[in-house]
């Protein structure tokens, strides 16, 4: 939640509407 | 070429070896966001034209710009996320009070993130070892 809040406030909310979400599951090593 | 500024952000972090935290590149982020806005608006125009006038020949260009938008998004997310990993490691290396020189390299949101991280870690450590809690950031080396 902390990380999501950070990403949203710094960058994601300033991006185009269809690009404002990043799946943090992608940060987990595959 | 699109996405040049975005890859510069990544290179900047890659050059900062061994987890050091360079200054937050607010200007770089702003430029990438501006490029994303321009690409999106151009695509909106072309999508509308493709729909209303049957210009299916615009589809490759729309796709091209969409790839650039995704690339910029990825670079920004990775840049910010990697900085958080470096900031997180600072808690373990320096303790809960960071040197001023490092704090100067952080933006306000990163300082806030660090404060929240400290609280999460403290809550977790209090939950260990019965009533007293356990400071897992101490004794990082095994005893002799």
């Amino acid at each position: 939640a902390n990380t999501e809040t950070y990403l949203k406030s710094v960058a994601l909310k300033h991006m185009p509407p269809n690009l404002q979400a990043v799946d943090l599951g992608k940060s987990v090593q595959k | 070429m699109f996405c040049e500024k975005a890859i510069e952000l990544i290179r900047e972090l890659q050059r900062a070896s061994d987890g050091q935290l360079p200054a937050f590149n607010e200007d770089g982020i702003r430029q990438v966001l501006e490029e994303m806005k321009a690409l999106y608006e151009q695509n909106q125009t072309d999508v509308n034209e493709a729909k209303s006038e049957g210009r299916s020949d615009l589809i490759p260009t729309i796709k091209f710009r969409h790839c650039c938008l995704l690339r910029n998004q990825r670079c920004i997310a990775a840049y910010l996320y990697d900085r958080l990993l470096r900031i997180r490691s600072l808690r373990w290396e320096y303790g809960s009070v960071l040197p001023t020189s490092i704090r100067f390299h952080m933006c306000a949101e990163e300082l806030e993130w660090f404060n929240q991280y400290k609280k999460s870690l403290a809550t977790y450590m209090r939950s260990l070892g019965g009533d007293e809690g356990l400071d897992v950031t101490q004794d990082m080396q095994p005893p002799k």
């Binding site: 992608k26 940060s27 | 490759p60 796709k63 091209f64 996320y81 990697d82 490691s89 290396e93």
Partner: protein, 188 residues
């Protein structure tokens, strides 16, 4: 710092979305050809009358863009193999993989070779096999040199290694140094 654990690169043909290494790998350029017109993107030829990229334009395109545009059914771009992955060089690698300067010819020889497999080509099985056998053929020397170079300048040992191999060498050195510290009673 030991506590900094960056998002690692993906394995094989996979990329990790937030990995800095994978982002830099995907910035590598591939020789491509446009298979249709790209209207209104004309930055390639500033002097041309139209602002379009014409069909049949040859250009060096970053991997991330080539992957994004590549589609088997709807041909927007076609991708050529870089020289290092073609038959001539594959023969060199099969003769002796240790002679090649993979930093100069790469530096992402294994990573880019793996990513090339996303683009359909009848040579893909041979490319995959060459990349794998090259790694196997060079691994032993990298491991040996990383375990025998203690407290010395290693620049000559790594200068001909690709990015993955340098990472491997570093891992070997960390293990060696940790072991030496433990032997000297400095690990507590």
């Amino acid at each position: 710092t030991q506590s900094y654990l960056p998002v690692p690169p993906g394995v094989g043909m996979e990329e990790n979305f937030l990995s800095l290494d994978d982002i830099l790998l995907s910035q590598e350029k591939l020789p491509t050809r446009t298979e249709c017109v790209f209207p209104r993107l004309g930055f390639v030829e500033k002097t041309s009358d139209t602002r379009d990229i014409p069909e049949g334009t040859k250009m060096e395109m970053p991997l991330w863009l080539a992957k994004g545009l590549y589609d088997n059914k709807r041909r927007l771009v076609s991708v050529e193999q870089p020289k290092i992955y073609r038959q001539g060089w594959r023969t060199v690698f099969s003769a002796d993989p240790n002679v090649v300067d993979l930093h100069k010819m790469g530096p992402y020889y294994y990573g880019l070779g793996s990513q090339l497999l996303h683009f359909d080509s009848p040579e893909n099985p041979e490319i995959a096999q060459t990349v794998l056998q090259t790694y196997i053929g060079r691994f032993r020397r990298i491991m040996d040199s990383s375990q025998n170079a203690y407290n010395e300048d290693t620049s000559a040992l790594v200068e001909r290694l690709d990015v993955l191999e340098r990472s491997l060498f570093r891992t070997g050195q960390i293990g060696l140094n940790d072991f030496q510290r433990w032997e000297k009673g400095q690990a507590s």
